[in-house]
Homo-oligomer: 468 residues x 3
């Protein structure tokens, strides 16, 4: 028995399927370029064995634990750590059984495809997970994890990863990246500059963060000039560990373009910790424009990931902290929000700004029209909740006609679930092959062109856009 | 000749069609669970013959008369009663002819499928309605209506309805439900608690409604505590007539969580009839949270149906009153709107809140992410204007990947058109079978799992979610 | 070799394809009714040869130059004129080569289909445009343009255009239309009344425009009554040159219905040039209601094209002026926006108001429900960025179930690219045939009905709605 249909995600109609299959086959084995994600560099630095199946697949994966939780499983029972250090489940096998008993909840979700892919392709399992097979699967994966070929570096090589970017705060000393760089291992693991903690006045500990940040950079936090120099300094430091991009996770896409005097005053205000909501939004918005200007100086590609209302549940935030599956997308405006930044630097041909969205209504209405005209703009792939068959298909159907393929940047796996990386790239490649097959079969693209585009989407555009 | 294609709404590609057909066949005859709708309990209480074809199919069905009206037919000419008691058409045959002459207007609409289904399956007609066949169809249906097997209870049984919920105001004495309960008929017709008239300060006669409501419950309207007790009392009364759910039709999904003192003050203000728009919204919002708390006490499942701007045309409202096809969907926010309620009771595993929307943009962006994490939330099916082939397909395509199937609740027919009930459930079953067939044929679901899920969607989830 | 697949845009599944093909074949040669667009009446008046391929296909077509520009080509290098009269490329061949080298950018876009259609069907080319074939194509098209059968009137006849509307400002003297009327040529080229320049206080030179406009009409600009009479006068003048419609391109769909005294005061204020943003919006909104009232007087059909944020880039506006590809769609509300106008005149059966949108989220949520009930409302086709295969398909899928086919008005090519007219109508006909084939094959429409509807969509509805 096989967990995976070898023609999964390809069209059903025979002519379309064989065309899509040929397109997919041409890039199925292409190297993985992973320019944006959240894997832990410590894995590659220490190269220690992953502890157990639950800690690999359940406890750290918000896609997985949020679904179980939505059907009444307490987060404690899945081993999610509590802020107060209170007791949560530590027995991996118990967590795994809770997950396995409810595996039907994942029917129709991308998690199911990613999990089955990892179970079969990474661990060689061929029985579907369920209450009945829970222990068998747990034991099998546990045995694998104890073997050297399942250590992070070995998997990295086996997955065909040519380059992977992690995401770090400017406050991070990048010691794991240093350790990788100093090792004799040849895997290319690079960092990316994600300054939310020192750019967003709503971030926990913002004022202290900025002070620590400036201290780390040897700059004074007393003036905006010093603060901005600290960014220059840390960006340069990040570039030493391979960074080719910055990343910005703001609640909205708001940008600002104030005068220098206004900015100084705004900076002083947010550093008092007493700025109101509008001023905090102003500061975040101004900093996007500042980051774009720094990108013009140092060449980092800029990514904007706006539109999540973080930590929706006050109770869960208090008990378990951030990133517990309670980040919810919101309606996001780009057209008026980005105008100040674009009026400032939008015509710069050496600048690349990659826009993401959690609000699919912006694809055809705002993002494709913007990226289809501004030289600096590119569209990031379908993101987070939309990193799925239907989500990716909608992305192509709603952006291609206005922005084409060449204002997009290929795929991001964007994951902290290491074993899902090959699965996610595989899904993207199958969806793109299916989309292209449909264009060809309906006379919207030459077959020769399709084979070129599928290669562009699988790796070339990511290399180009992210300067890898 | 047949009005209905036996493979209607199933995919065209042969492999998909045969798979979808098999899935559909497995649940085509499953009992109808109708947990939310607007049929008239009087029909089942009195079991009188329906008066004539126009009064069965045209005059009470806003889907039908709004389309005719949009093409210039006066509502008076369709027999819609005037507020001032002025003359409107009373000749059923004339109304029917106006409808029949314009039957082409319904091409491509769900009304066309529901009507043809009723014509063929309920009345045995096999000629398409048109100016030419108007009288033939009218006479044929009239003849049927005169026969005992077309009385409401006989149709109820013939339709395979296992349970149907109607929707009543707390001001209703439920006398028709009592009459059904006291009769020797075994059909299960239950009520649902819809308190808009005493919860929404914008409802006509709100203050008088609340006073009558408290009087009915033997509570004092002078304090919020009394008012809330009146709800407790009436909910208990409704439960005696089978109610397992409450239902809330607010203009927005706004919720509030004020302190008791603030609530008392707000209640006092709205009872003066002089609350401003923000206060009226506050009161509605607070009442959703209160209703959720009462649900924790008494176990009623809570349904929220927000987002219709009612009575859009001032002229039509003045002349014909409410519910005349002039309710128009609006952009609806859930993420910030529901936060106060969810912070108050969102973690309660014994609470079920079923969310509906008229704004499809919220499916993938807000509703699926919310229902995919909060234990108390479930998603109601595609509603009203979206209760259609394309609407249901978009619902599945935009919610399943994030919320799965098990955070949804099966189908609601939500209708006041009795003869459309089997048609509507049939459409839903065909759409779900088609969707599942596509998942199976593209390797996203096992075939064995598909047969389980199609059964879940056809009746199991409705039973569970509505506690039937 | 052929640039065009003869079955392009038709479904792939064989049964669907043959059905769609039959439907398409039945109307492929139907006359072109073009009730709304932006071709230049001077072409038909003077009937001069088009100057060169770049000036025909690249420089005036914002779809084309915006895509090239988005990938770093300066607008100057495409010959786009500068506001300051500064140097831009004048060598058509150089512009053409820049275009040809980047022809891959158009993969998957409607521009690619329109261009290939024109290259093959209008000019008889059979090689795909690329750097390698740039000169060959340029020379071939240049040769054609020098021949009489490629003059505007000859192409008009060859394209099978039965009637085409251009769009003019009330300030226009319509001299080209007069010249066409006075000529011995029988082509039907009519104007349409587009008063933005004298209705929108944000339009460049608004106050002077209004003064010139009133002077032209022999009315006084000193009072609103005079100003309104000037509209009456100019509308009558436009009707002499065939106008059957007015057109309104506002930033939002806001309407107002003030008292006469309020309107006089508002008019006085905007004529000072000092009205604030809210007052300017009020004036535009009031004028939509006034225009609807004038339509009741003179029978012009009213078109509303709202929701573009014009001239998004301050830099491009300063350097190149309006209409340079920097108009970006915005979220657009219709439900509350149109209520004042609809309360005033929405029940008028002699009034036709055609609504367009750039915000596809309004299709199913707002526009179809509104057009599906108000007698005066009709839905215009998928517009601008949505004038494409996927855009049109979404339009049908999201409007038909609620509004049916008969509250829509057929196709608009809406183009200033003359050679794209047959291509655009052909795309629309293929999409509609495909959509109808799917309805038939899934039992949602009778086959006989499909052949009727496809004819309605191809030309009948446009004739009726636009009173042509």
């Amino acid at each position: 028995m096989s967990l995976l249909d070898e023609n999964r995600l390809l069209p059903v109609e025979p002519k379309l399927r064989s065309l899509a299959r040929a397109l997919y086959d041409s890039i199925a084995q292409a190297p993985i370029i992973s320019p944006h994600g959240h894997t832990d560099p410590r894995w590659f630095a220490e190269n220690a064995a992953f502890p157990d199946p639950a800690q690999l697949f359940v406890t750290p994966d918000h896609y997985v634990f949020r679904m179980l939780h939505s059907q009444g499983v307490a987060l404690e029972d899945l081993g999610v750590p509590r802020v107060d250090g209170g007791t949560t489940e530590v027995d991996g096998r118990k967590i795994w059984r809770r997950f396995a008993e409810r595996y039907h909840l994942f029917r129709g979700t991308p998690s199911r495809i990613w999990l089955d892919h990892a179970f079969q392709e990474v661990f060689g399992l061929d029985t579907r997970l369920s209450a009945a097979t829970a222990d068998h699967c747990y034991d099998h994966i546990s045995d694998c994890l104890a073997r050297p070929e399942f250590r992070p570096r070995a998997l990295f090589d086996r997955f065909g990863i040519e380059v992977i970017a992690t995401t770090e705060s400017p406050l991070d000393d990048l010691k794991w990246h240093r350790m990788i760089q100093d090792s004799d291992w040849g895997g290319r693991v690079i960092t990316a500059y994600r300054p939310d903690a020192v750019v967003d006045p709503d971030f926990e500990g913002f004022v202290e963060n900025v002070e620590a940040f400036c201290a780390l950079a040897g700059e004074s936090a007393a003036s905006f000039a010093g603060y901005l120099n600290a960014h220059r300094n840390r960006r340069t430091y990040f570039k030493r560990f391979g960074a080719t991009s910055s990343d910005h996770g703001h609640p909205t896409a708001a940008t600002r373009n104030f005068t220098r005097a206004e900015i100084e005053a705004l900076y002083a205000k947010v550093m008092t910790g007493k700025a109101d909501a509008a001023e905090r939004e102003d500061f975040r918005g101004q900093m996007l424009t500042e980051m774009a200007r720094l990108s013009l100086e140092d060449g980092l590609v800029m990514q904007i990931h706006p539109g999540a209302l973080r930590n929706h549940s006050a109770g869960v935030l208090a008990r378990f902290g951030r990133d517990k599956g309670y980040d919810i997308p919101t309606r996001t405006d780009y057209v008026t929000a980005l105008k100040p930044l674009l009026d400032a630097v939008g015509m710069e041909r050496d600048l690349t700004i990659i826009l993401f969205t959690l609000d699919e209504t912006s694809y055809a209405r705002e993002l494709a029209p913007l990226a289809g005209v501004y030289p600096c703009l590119r569209l990031g792939p379908a993101w987070w909740f939309h990193d799925s068959y239907e989500g990716m298909m909608r992305f192509r159907q709603m952006t291609t006609e206005t922005a084409g393929f060449y204002n997009t940047v290929g795929f991001n796996d964007d994951t902290r679930a290491f074993c899902s990386i090959p699965a996610r790239h595989d899904v993207a490649r199958r969806v793109d092959a299916s989309y292209l097959a449909t264009l060809i079969a309906t006379g919207r693209l030459g077959e020769d062109e399709g084979f070129e585009v599928v290669e562009d989407l699988a790796h070339r555009l990511a290399r180009q856009a992210y300067r890898l």
